[in-house]
Amino acid sequence: MESTIAPPLAMLRESAGVVHDELLALLRDSVSARFSPDPEGSPERIAGYLEDGLSLLTSRGFRLDSEVGLSMESFEVCRRLADQDARFRFIYRLPSSVGWGAAIGAAIGRALYGETHDGVRVVTATLNAFMTFLDGLLDEAPDVFNPHRESLLQLVRDTELHNGTRNGSVPRDHPYNTMCFLIARLWIDHFNRLSPPSQPGGLRNEFLCAALRSMAVEYSACDSRFGGAPPSMDVLYGRTSWPLWTQALAVMCQHGRPADVDLGAFRKLIFRIGEYAAYLDDVRDYITDCAAAQWNTVSLAYYSRYPFPIDGAGVTQRQLLANLADDAFAEAVIQTGSELCDSIEECLVGLRGVDSDSLRPLLADLTYEYLC
């Protein structure tokens, strides 16, 4: 049966690329001016994030030291493995994700406290790298990583109990599993160094719970393959929103709860930003995710609006790729993008004690990164 549908599906994928490019351009025209006081500055700033990420990985603050067990050589072992096996090429996203993580920490710090702190930036950077790495492993090489799901969660849970990391919990069966655990230990290690150190309860527990929730959502999202029951939208949005909220909590762990800020409203803002980022990512990766038989927020939104029989991954793929040529689909994509922007604006406007100008360049850069 599969062989009879393969040729038209392949043709559909090829032609879908052109329509998809047009859709990205339409969305770009619709939202790229929303947050950008300086649209010309995004490429320069994004290059700066990557530079920052690379230099954090090597020399400034990341501390590839014997305490955690990471070294440039261990990264290079993984990089060379990626040259041989394309599944592991996600390692190349690591410097960029470190840079973006540092930028997120800096922007939230400035928005809440008017300042940024190097120690926080390292936590938000390494946490971002960890989530990127985990996402890559779960999506691209689940067979390699799946045996270690529970023990990775346990590593983070133990942090609550021990206020530190345990040396014996790093798997050695595959360089990428080792790397994933070492990066986890790295952000935990740096989190424990934040000031005030080892503050019991309160924000510290909230941070660790959010980190665990981020991982759990990531686990659930990667299981959302075509052919099975579609996931909930909360799970698909949550894989970006929860890590972002975890990073925001890291900032607050350093500085303390912001006095004049409604934390519930601020949390809502962070979640809206996370949803916006997830959505842009999913519009951009629509074809790739379809090819990988993976639900994302865009395909799930279409399915929710216009349900169709789910009868095997191939049928779902064809249906979702064919949607691209549908004007109603394009309109819905653009409308959703605009609504997400509106919801961020509403949160920003109604929020006291937060310097929204510190967040706008980051939002503009996110938009540029995904759509330009």
Binding site: E44, A47, L57, R60, M72, E76, R93
Partner: protein, 374 residues
């Protein structure tokens, strides 16, 4: 071992089976591949023996593998007295060291172009004749499937080479590939380089410049305490601007004296190319076909890969009595191979971000400015 093509007094014509225009890495790979099929081949090089070039000193592991497959690796690399090997290279920015890429299994080779290009030509098979200091002006169709290649020598005399197939490998400034519509619609990327004495550079380094986005500068250690410094702009950039950035580079490394810049131009992949062959028996490769990596400006690997494929295609064309199908296959291969090689991927995205290449930058390159100092 190749031979120099000599013309006795008054002689103005020679006959062969394949003519390769351009004696850089792409041309040598093409000549080698064609000659290996037993075809009498003439390689026409506009420069004199041992002429240097502005960039392309670094043989990455993939390029070394390609040389090995051509049977040229050991000779070229081991006999090159000025060759140096490194098991790592550094990526830098004004903020300092960004990353150290390590090659523990297959090293990176840094060989001055004047050495590597000449070694490659010297080691071509005996059925390749090399004509130096001759510029090819025209390629014309003749009856019965022949082509006429007219070259002008230093002494002003024109010589005609009659052949069955022509490989165009004369670099990014090649006009013939434009005339025959097989340039791959290349974009132009200017670069400059110069040697200077400097002891502080211990391994090859690339440095990304916020002052020159998209672009970067390099420092490649050479023997005897010299370093090859250079700047590559991946979009149209004025020569004066490059020189100014070169001055900064000089100052950054504390080098005294005035640099003696050599200029060059890379033929970048544009994604707009349709064909790299003409049914009459021509194929283009390397910079002439716009096959240089548009993100990092690396062209040596592409030159060797496409040169070899072009030489093989030309040979099959001759041995197949002018069956243009093999040339069409070459074009299809170029489109698929380089289209895939230069397609977005995580690592390319990272380079792109570091270089600061945006879609606006790339599109502005289509109105390529020819660097005045080159």
């Amino acid at each position: 071992m190749s031979t120099c093509v000599e013309f006795s007094t008054g002689e103005s014509e020679k006959t062969c089976e394949v003519v390769v225009v351009g004696g850089g890495p792409a041309g040598s790979a093409a000549a080698c591949a064609a000659a290996r099929q037993g075809l009498q081949t003439v390689l026409v090089e506009s420069g004199r023996k041992g002429r240097d070039k502005a960039c392309g000193d670094m043989f990455a592991p993939t390029a070394v593998t390609l040389l090995q497959e051509l049977g040229l690796c050991c000779e070229v690399l081991a006999q090159a007295q000025e060759a140096r090997t490194f098991d790592a290279l550094e990526l830098r920015s004004p903020r300092g060291l960004l990353w150290k890429v390590m090659y523990p299994e297959q090293p990176v080779w840094i060989i001055p172009r004047k050495i590597s290009d000449q070694k490659l030509r010297d080691l071509l098979p005996a059925n390749v004749g090399v004509m130096y200091e001759a510029s090819v002006r025209t390629v014309a169709k003749l009856p019965r499937g022949f082509l006429s290649v007219t070259a002008c020598r230093q002494d002003g005399k024109a010589v005609n080479l009659q052949c069955r197939a022509v490989v165009l490998a004369a670099g990014a400034q090649d006009r013939l590939s434009d005339q025959w519509g097989i340039s791959g619609r290349r974009l132009h990327a200017p670069s400059i380089s110069a040697y200077a004495r400097c002891t502080g550079v211990t391994m090859p380094a690339f440095e990304f410049l916020s002052a020159c986005r998209p672009g970067y500068r390099w420092a490649f250690p050479a023997p005897d305490g010299y370093v090859n410094f250079g700047i590559c702009a991946l979009t149209s950039t004025r020569g004066s601007r490059l020189k100014s950035l070169g001055r900064d580079l000089w100052d950054a490394y504390g080098i005294s004296g005035e640099p003696r810049w050599r200029g060059g131009t890379g033929g970048l992949w544009s994604s707009d190319g349709v064909r790299w062959h003409h049914d009459a028996g021509l194929v283009s490769c390397g910079d002439a076909g716009g096959l240089v990596d548009p993100v990092n400006g690396e062209g040596l690997t592409a030159a060797l890969a496409s040169g070899r494929a072009a030489g093989e295609a030309a040979a099959r064309f001759v041995l197949g009595n002018g069956d243009a199908g093999v040339l069409r296959s070459y074009s299809e291969w170029v489109k698929a191979y380089f289209g895939s090689r230069y397609a977005p991927s995580a690592v390319r995205t990272a380079w792109k971000q570091l270089c600061g290449i945006t879609s606006e930058h790339r599109s502005s390159s289509s109105s390529a400015y020819q660097c005045a100092i080159l």
